[in-house]
Every structure is written in C-alpha cells, then in structure tokens.
C-alpha cells in the first residue's frame, strides 16, 4: 500500500495518532479497499479505537490487490515510534507539505516520508512485528440509547474532572444527563466527588430507550474528544445497559473515527430480573438466554492473549472477545441477536487470511459454546469449541 497525505490533512492524521495513543501503546495500520484504517486496542482489551481515513482523505491511495498478504502492509507498530513524527502540530502545519506512507515493500518495515519545505525530506523506516489486525464489531443499531452532542458540550462536561480521573459514570434518564467521577469503594472515603448534570435539551439528538448508568474509562476517551473539538465534529454516543460497551464516534466526508469502551457490569442486574430495578423489563437480553455460540476469551487464535479482566469486588469489566471476521462481514448470525450482542459486547475480528474482502474468506477462529451465561467469567472455560464462519 502506498498513500500520500497532503497539506493540512497531515495534521489531522497526526491528531488521530495522538488520540489513539491515549488508548494503547500499539497501533495497527490496516490498509483496506475503502481507505486506511488505523486501530488501537487498549490493555486488557477493554477499549478500542479506530480511525478510518477514506480514499478522499488522501492525495494518492493505492493498494496492490493481487499481492500476498505481506505486501498489503498490515502491521502493528509501537505508538511511540510513530508519535514523534507528528508530535508538534504547529510545526507540521508550518513546515510539512505532504506525508507518504508505504507499506508492504518489506516484511519488517513501514516507511513514513515527510516532505517538508526547503526541499527537506525526512524518511522514517519503522519496524513492525506482526501482521494480524484486531477489529471490534459493534452493532450500533441495537443500542437502545443514542445521543448526539456538539464536541464542546462533551468538553464542558469532562472539564470538571481532573486529567488523572480514570473512570466516570454517565447516567441518563429522560429528564437529566449526569456525569460523576467513579471510584472504588475502598478509595471513597477521602476522595473529592464531582457531579455534573445537564438537561437533555442540550444534546442535538437524545434518544434514551432505557435509563442507564454506565461506568467507563474517561482517560481513553479524551483523545477522541479533543480530536472532535479541534475539527468541530459532533460526537455520537451509542450505549445500552451497564456491561454493554459504549461507542463514541465522529465522522465527516473523509474520515470516520470511533472509540469503543467496555463498561462496568453491575452484578445485581446480571443475575436476574429485578422488579423495579435498573433493568428495563423490556430489555432484549438476559444472561440465561445466551445462545450456544458464545466465544470464550481463552480459546481464540491470534488473540493478543487477553483473558477477560476481572476486577476485584462485584463489578467486572466486560472483556473484549476475539471472534471471526473483520469489517463489514458482520453478517454473523449471532450479532443480529440482541442476547448475543449483550454477551460478546466487543467482538474482535482476527484477520488471518490473505485477502480481507468480505464474504470470500473462511476464517478458522474458534468460538465456544456455553450452556448458560454465567456472570462469573471463570466458568466459561468448560465450554467446547466450535468453528464459526
């Protein structure tokens, strides 16, 4: 793959890298037919970020379709080797005319070239190690709650929390939207608590199908929020019950960006229907209705080796699972089933085939059957493996 980014878009690309650097120390470059996807998966696989730059973003974008996989140039790079190229956006604006990225020429290196003023060309050959790419599948159309907000609104909400604040809880109901800092109970005694609330009218679009309190990592989101603010792009928020992941996304003509974060499950709401509890009785999924094809975390090939992270105490992070296909081939039957969606909230496609085009490839990732969905993640390991196409 070869692409050239021109002019002010170089700064945009740099800002995207900055945003992804908040999620993880590693990023994937994934050249696709429709554009270049840059992805990042957080530690413990509880967060995922993706910036897809469409062909319109580039002055030149060429993908060598008929080459073997290595030549496509899918690669995983440490963020700290890419970030310095785009560190200072002011100087990029001043001095860089264009940026050329070439992958697939070598098995071990990807080349970034910055063409600067005064005839200066800076060439960076960055080494990488792996080819496989992870991608989260998030059926946004199944989310009961959808918000759309101007980036300044979200910025005004998060500004009240210090940069060191790890997690926040976002609560929505038809009358009020509240964000407050979250801390584990044992830390709570001497910690200052902050709560910010505003009226749903302030959102451009506000649809709350189910009242919900979701707790997620704010630190990982800040990158996308600052990207959205600097480009004036409204932010869409899709989420559901606690435990289901939340997706923040922005888009315009030339790019789509999203960050998907796992949210804490509330153990009481997992076990059974609580009359009058936080569970909406009309909610589509119950743990016991799990279909048999729940993939286990431990048994998936090319997984980055992440078991589900289980936090001490009652609340557990809903881990991210590695499943099958990538991208648009999300016609997996499971994903249409709301119950399945609830279980495998974040599905990752491990792309191990030579050509990633939808439908053409047989993936051999394993998924696991389990009889009942237990809240306790350890019990899943007893399930038997089953292939999924």
């Amino acid at each position: 793959m070869k692409c050239v980014i021109e002019g002010s878009n170089v700064k945009v690309f740099g800002k995207a890298i900055h945003a992804l650097s908040r999620i993880s120390d590693e990023m994937w470059l994934d050249p696709l037919e429709k554009g270049l996807a840059v992805r990042s998966v957080g530690p413990a696989h509880s967060s995922y970020g993706c910036f897809l730059f469409t062909r319109l973003f580039f002055q030149l974008y060429s993908l060598n379709i008929s080459s073997p996989q290595a030549a496509l140039g899918r690669c995983k790079l440490p963020v700290k080797s890419v970030l310095p190229l785009f560190r200072c956006s002011a100087s990029i604006e001043r001095s860089v005319d264009s940026c050329k990225i070439s992958t697939g020429l070598s098995d071990t290196q990807v080349t970034f070239q910055l063409f600067c003023k005064h005839g200066i060309t800076k060439t960076y050959n960055l080494g990488f190690q792996e080819h496989d790419v992870l991608q989260a599948v998030f059926p946004a159309h199944l989310c009961p709650n959808v918000l759309k907000a101007q980036p300044s609104l979200l910025g005004d909400m998060v500004i009240h929390f210090p940069a060191s604040q790890e997690e926040v809880t976002l609560s929505v109901c038809p009358k009020r939207v509240t964000m407050r800092n979250y801390c584990e109970e044992r830390d709570q005694i001497k910690v200052m608590s902050t709560e910010m609330s505003l009226h749903p009218e302030e959102f451009d679009y506000f649809h709350v199908g189910v009242d919900s309190d979701i707790t997620f990592c704010l630190k990982e989101l800040r990158g996308l929020l600052s990207f959205a603010e600097s480009h004036g792009l409204p932010v869409y928020v899709h989420f559901g019950h606690p435990g289901q992941p939340v997706r923040f996304s922005v888009e315009n003509m030339v790019l789509e960006a999203s960050v998907v974060l796992a949210t804490q499950t509330d153990s009481e709401s997992e076990v059974s229907v609580q009359p009058g509890g936080s569970e909406d009785p009309a909610a589509p999924s119950r743990p016991q209705d799990a279909p048999p094809t729940a993939p286990p975390e431990e048994q998936v090939p090319s997984s980055q080796g992440s078991p589900v992270l289980s936090r001490p105490g009652n609340l557990e992070y809903f881990g991210l699972h590695v499943a099958t296909d990538s991208g648009a081939h999300a016609a997996e039957p499971e994903s249409a089933d709301p119950a399945t969606f609830r279980l495998h909230s974040l599905l990752f496609g491990a792309v191990s085939s030579p050509w990633p085009n939808e439908g053409d490839v047989l993936h051999t990732s394993l998924a696991c059957a389990s009889d009942t969905e237990e809240d306790n993640m350890e019990e899943r390991s007893s399930a038997t493996p089953m292939p999924i196409y």
Binding site: I189, E195, H199, E201
Partner: protein, 267 residues
C-alpha cells in the same frame, strides 16, 4: 453545626478563587476557620528548622452575598475544618463563569464541604456542577493550636523587588545551595546570598524603599540606616512562597525582617 453561603458576583468569585489558589500552592492541607464575620485559612507548621506558617483572614462580606453559620456551641460560635485546599481550588477553577456558587457543610459518607455551581447552558435549564470536598471537623479542644500569630518586633521592613526578578534569582540559587541568607537595611538595600564550598553568589538590590516605620519597629530611628539585618532561610520554602503569589508581579510586597525569621506580607 451548620454553614451555608452563596457567591453571586463573578468578580467576588474570581477573587476568592485567587486566594484559594495561592493557599493551595503553599500547603497540602490547611485549616479553615469559619466565624460569623470571617473566614480564616491557617497553617501552622511546627517544623523546627525553617517551617512555614500561614495565616490568612478574609472578611466574608467581601466575597459572599449570603453567609450563615452556626458554630459548635453558642459560646463557641465557630467551625474549624481541616481540608485540602487543592480540592477547593479545583472545584472553583471550572466554575469561574458560574451564575451562582453555593457552599454548605454536609454529611455524605463523611463530613463534606459541598460546592454547587450553577453554570450557563444552551437550554433553559442551567447546568449544575456539584463538588463534595471531604473535610475533617477539628474538635474544640484543639482550637488553641490555631491562634493568630503575633507580629513580633522587627528590625527592618523593606519593599521587595518585582517578584518575577526575585523568583528568577532564587530559582538559579536553588541549584547551588539549600539555604539562602537574605539581608536588608533601612536604606532600601537588599542582598540575597548563598555560599557553598565551591562558590558564593550574591545578588544586590538597590533603591527598594522601606515602608514607614510603623508599629513594632524596635530600635527605631536610632538604628543605623546601613546596618543589615540578616536571616537564613530554606530556599525551597521561599521559592514556594514566591511561586504561589498570584498577584500582579509589579505590585510591591512588604517584607519584615527579623532575626531569625522573615515575615512576608503581600499588599
């Protein structure tokens, strides 16, 4: 024990915030004393060698539009709270454009000073930000630790040079030595000196001006104008004090120099 107060004026809110910011840079925890008419931020650091103590008295009427307080008892109508001023500073920082700020003493999981700011919003309903700042109530039997320090007799009183200049000098000196000798006389001269085995550095300031010798001046006019009064201080503490000052750098400061301590009074 009850406390409720409200600030409605943006200017008052800004001023109060600046005071709290200054205090938060000086110390990690301090004591807030509330009386019917005043607020006090106090710190008494009992470290023998070069500790910092601070006393700040504010007239509540200068800041608050409403101020109601009921102390621990009718014959002791005061409240003493220990808190982290950085929390207060952080709560105030993002409320600078608030339509109103309410403060009250509450009991959540522990006693808290709750600040609620009503912020302008795009809709008809205001945004509300609430901060619960955990505090410790200081029992009455410990109140005697927090008496107002008496201003002792001083030898020399002098206006300091622009803080920025002084801070620059002291920042450089800090790299060479832990202690600094500050000396000043009544002719408007001040020297900052450090001395180590390898090097000695001194910076001289002239024509600083001395405030009129008012209360507390010992020896009085009989003292030789040229005699320097000296004090040795920990550079880090001095630097901390200077960097905490949020006043306009061109504003003069009055410093009273007595052996062995320095009192610095912003004016």
């Amino acid at each position: 024990m009850r406390f409720r107060a409200k600030i409605l004026d943006v200017g008052c809110l800004n001023s109060f915030t600046r005071v709290v910011n200054t205090i938060s840079k000086l110390t990690k925890t301090c004591t807030l004393r509330l009386t019917a008419d005043n607020l006090y931020f106090m710190l008494s650091d009992k470290v023998a060698n070069g500790g910092v103590s601070m006393w700040c008295e504010l007239d509540q009427g200068n800041f608050f539009d409403e101020f109601q307080m009921e102390g621990v008892a009718s014959d002791a109508n005061e409240i003493y709270l220990e808190l982290v001023p950085e929390n207060l500073s952080r709560a105030l920082r993002t409320a600078q454009n608030a339509k109103s700020l309410k403060a009250k003493l509450t009991k959540k999981h522990c006693p808290c000073l709750t600040l609620a700011a009503e912020l302008p919003s795009l809709s008809s309903v205001s945004r509300v930000v609430t901060h619960d700042i955990p505090v410790d109530v200081i029992p009455r039997k410990l109140w005697h630790d927090f008496r107002e320090p008496t201003v002792p007799d001083f030898d020399v009183s002098i206006y300091l040079p622009p803080l920025k200049t002084m801070k620059n000098v002291i920042d450089r000196m800090k790299n060479l030595s832990n202690f600094l000798v500050l000396e000043a006389n009544r002719s408007g001269q001040m020297n900052l000196k450090i001395e180590t085995d390898l090097v000695s550095v001194s910076t001289h300031f002239r024509d600083l001006g001395n405030p009129p010798c008012g209360d507390g001046g010992s020896q009085g006019a009989s003292q030789d104008l040229e005699t320097m009064a000296q004090a040795r201080v920990d550079i880090k503490k001095l630097q901390q004090f200077l960097s905490s000052q949020q006043v306009n750098p061109s504003k003069a400061m009055c410093s009273k120099l007595i052996y062995p301590s320095i009192h610095l009074l912003p004016i």
